[in-house]
Symmetry: C2
Subunit: 482 residues, 2 copies
């Protein structure tokens, strides 16, 4: 792992999460060395400890993409302005936040180039070149890349001008196939975020107002942060034939006709790391889910008199876990008291602490301390590996249980607009309300309390529209959002 | 693997390598679907088959970086102009090829932003923030990223405006430590390129004229392409204290003094894929080294009458190799003759072809065909996995042997300038010559035949300078370069 700071400055108290979650978030991000501010406005540096989380996310997600038949590729980050403007809604949605390259070397460019805010335009252009017959379909390509959206207000991970993501772009013969792909990838996201990141989610379709610029339908997974703000954590778009028509992506079908393909796109970004931090952290700092924690367990030798045997034993314990494929760190630095180290790794969210001293050795035991609950257990040396495995599994599950509980406690039904306002402003929660489907009512959520429809629910509404009290067509989740 | 084209168009003859290596290269890149041209001048699309090679390269190199103690991070791709200009040689070297962002969203920027051509400047700025005491050193960080250099003449992989690479950036307490790092990473590159990519290399220091802009010393691994042009394949830079002084990266040493750190940087890019293509390909197309080939073996069922048993057997063979961890593809498509498939996978450079038909099954044998030599062998079914493993090892070695032979045959000593000119212009080779060390003589290489010193050799010169015939100080390799 990235070495903890040599100086003691990182042990400065972080603002308690319960006191000011916003300052807590910034403190933790900086002090756990997940990220740092950069001299370029709105951009962050993802430091090694934060990047190691991203590497774990990449590894797990990439394996899922490949299992579902996708391959990776890389497209240029420059998109000629004329491409971006081909799909009308798309350019309208993204133009306000594009960074423009206007000069290459010493020469001004004839046509300015957008730095990709997303790659539908350049990829659509290429697919039109590549697709000839129905036998060329489906195209199932994913890209890991950086993207830029010129944001006014930014926060590390949650909203940055440049961020890292993956974007899947697929082309299909029929709309049915494309819709199945959209659903499949939403489910990949949902399962990954729930199971590997231990975050609780609601999922569903976006309203037409909130959908991706250029999509027919957008589906989303939404997490709810402990401050009551929702975080869009991954989206999967049914693009219909909008981009196929804009970029003329056609194929010769078996019936001899030339038809437009049906495309999809789906993405998840480094902002999900922000959700991990927010969801699980506590007053002491981070609590990282074992499946993506850069260090799953840290071994801390407790040395009083003779150091050598304890250090030797510590190395053995470390090796026994490495042999089982766990990510383990041994902190055998001199000159730092065990208690200081405990606080340091608690702040860094390492799921399990392993303490070993002379007395433990004599008793044939090892001391294991859970980061999630603080529980301490002495386990027989012979059961060491099995207990570590069991506890890491328990911690992963417990974080998810706690996250689901927070989601449940922060989600409130509301039948009148006054109740709705109270949910958002007083309870700092997410409202589960009936909606008539009219844009005018949707606009009121934003106008009154700065909230938006996070997603449509599958459930049928049993009440009139929470805004106009007219007949409701959908049940929806409404919240403020990052 | 990326599916081969459904249409037969890719089987159009490619220009023989022996006839026109430049057209051959373009044909192979496009027809094997490694890459495609993009609508943005100088940028390419790395298609799935090409990107899968890059993924293998990343996986292998990244493991080496981690073994040598490095961690990954991510820095912003935007570099404020004022940062780039802090190190005088650095800006002079890179400014002519920088792409500039001048507008973000609707607003012109106050200071224009360079898209990183390399990241010493932004990373130097951050290291200055992060380093306080000698205990914070060394910093051993690597970054996988895209970079942009506004090139006038481009070719897929070999020279593109945007490319992918990794850049290591380290900071050390002493110059000795930094120099050891520079040597260590050059050796990581050398071994990777020789052993995993099967490319033959010469290695050594760059001349002062050819070194990285801002470095004290640059060390390089250089491959020689079959057309006699050298390809700089990886570089490792001793940056001395140049960037430490420009960005004020200081640490408090154990003796209580504040000192500047010593930094290094080192990089390898997607251009190395160009070297793989150029070095190993033949008239039939690619020949990929097994260690980085996206598909190491392809199984082709030979069906005459009854298809089912042969297809069943083919699947079993595929599975037996997958179980051993090999990357295997089964091409069981109907409607394509085996001979057509053979040519297709030969063009795509798959190292080993596995043919299986009814007759083979009756005889309890499998037919294996090497892509590198075309040799065909029937092996007992019981020895199948072992033979595949042995042959893939043989192919890997043989490609390296052949590459070393080409390097040997294309490298010529020269003692007079006329001989030197002949080596470059007539023999299309690399010259191994003595040099006095004067820039004026170095300039003649370029002025006369467009060649440059590729690297200094360790060997002592036994002749006078090949240009001025004065006393020589170094033996050097000189060649034209991509």
């Amino acid at each position: 792992m990235d070495k903890p700071s040599a100086d003691k400055k990182t042990l400065d108290a972080i603002t308690p999460k319960s006191q000011d979650i916003s300052r807590w978030y910034t403190d933790v991000v900086l002090k756990a060395r997940l990220a740092d501010y950069s001299p370029v406005k709105g951009c962050m540096i993802i430091r090694p400890y934060g990047y190691a989380i991203w590497e774990n996310i990449q590894r797990l997600l990439d394996a899922e993409f490949k299992k579902t038949g996708h391959v990776n590729a890389y497209f240029p980050m420059f998109i000629p302005e004329s491409f971006l403007t081909k799909e009308a809604e798309h350019v309208e949605g993204f133009a306000p936040e594009v960074a423009w390259v206007t000069q290459g070397g010493k020469e001004p460019l004839e046509e300015r180039l957008a730095i990709r805010p997303t790659s539908e335009a350049i990829i659509g252009h290429m697919y039109a070149k590549w697709v000839e017959s129905y036998r060329d379909l489906p195209i199932l390509i994913n890209q890991w890349a950086n993207v830029v959206r010129w944001e006014k207000v930014t926060r590390p991970f949650l909203r940055t001008t440049e961020f890292l993501w993956q974007e899947g772009h697929t082309a299909h013969r029929t709309h049915e196939e494309a819709k199945a792909e959209v659903a499949r990838m939403l489910e990949v996201y949902r399962r990954f975020v729930e199971e590997d990141l231990a975050i609780a989610l609601v999922t569903g379709e976006k309203s037409q107002k909130e959908k991706f610029a250029g999509a027919l339908h957008t589906f989303t997974i939404e997490a709810l942060m402990p401050d009551g703000q929702a975080l869009q954590s991954g989206t999967s778009h049914d693009l219909g034939q909008n981009f196929a028509k804009a970029f003329d992506i056609k194929f010769l079908d078996a019936d001899g006709e030339r038809k437009h393909v049906w495309t999809t796109s789906w993405g998840m970004s480094t902002r999900i790391i922000g959700a991990v931090i927010m969801t699980h952290g506590d007053d002491k700092g981070l609590r990282l889910p074992p499946r993506v924690a850069p260090t799953q367990a840290v071994v801390i030798p407790i040395v009083y008199k003779e150091a050598a045997p304890v250090l030797e034993k510590s190395k053995q314990l470390r090796q026994r876990l490495l042999d089982r494929g766990w990510r383990v760190h041994l902190d055998d630095r001199d000159g730092f008291k065990p208690g200081w180290k405990y606080a340091e790794y608690e702040m860094m969210g390492v799921p399990l602490r392993i303490e070993i001293g002379q007395k433990d050795m004599e008793k044939g035991q090892v001391c294991l301390v859970r980061r999630d609950t603080g529980e301490k257990a002495f386990v027989p040396d012979t059961a060491f590996e099995a207990e570590v495995e069991r506890l890491l599994g328990e911690i992963q599950k417990n974080l998810h249980v706690q996250a689901k509980e927070i989601l449940r406690r922060r989600t409130f039904p509301a039948t009148t607009f006054a109740e709705f306002v109270e949910v958002i402003k007083e309870q700092h929660g997410m409202a589960d309300v009936a909606w008539c489907g009219q844009a005018a009512c949707e606009d009121r959520f934003k106008a009154e309390v700065g909230a938006t429809i996070r997603c449509l629910r599958d459930a049928s509404p049993h009440h009139p529209c929470v805004v106009c009290q007219g007949p409701a067509s959908r049940q929806v989740y409404v919240a403020r959002a990052y």
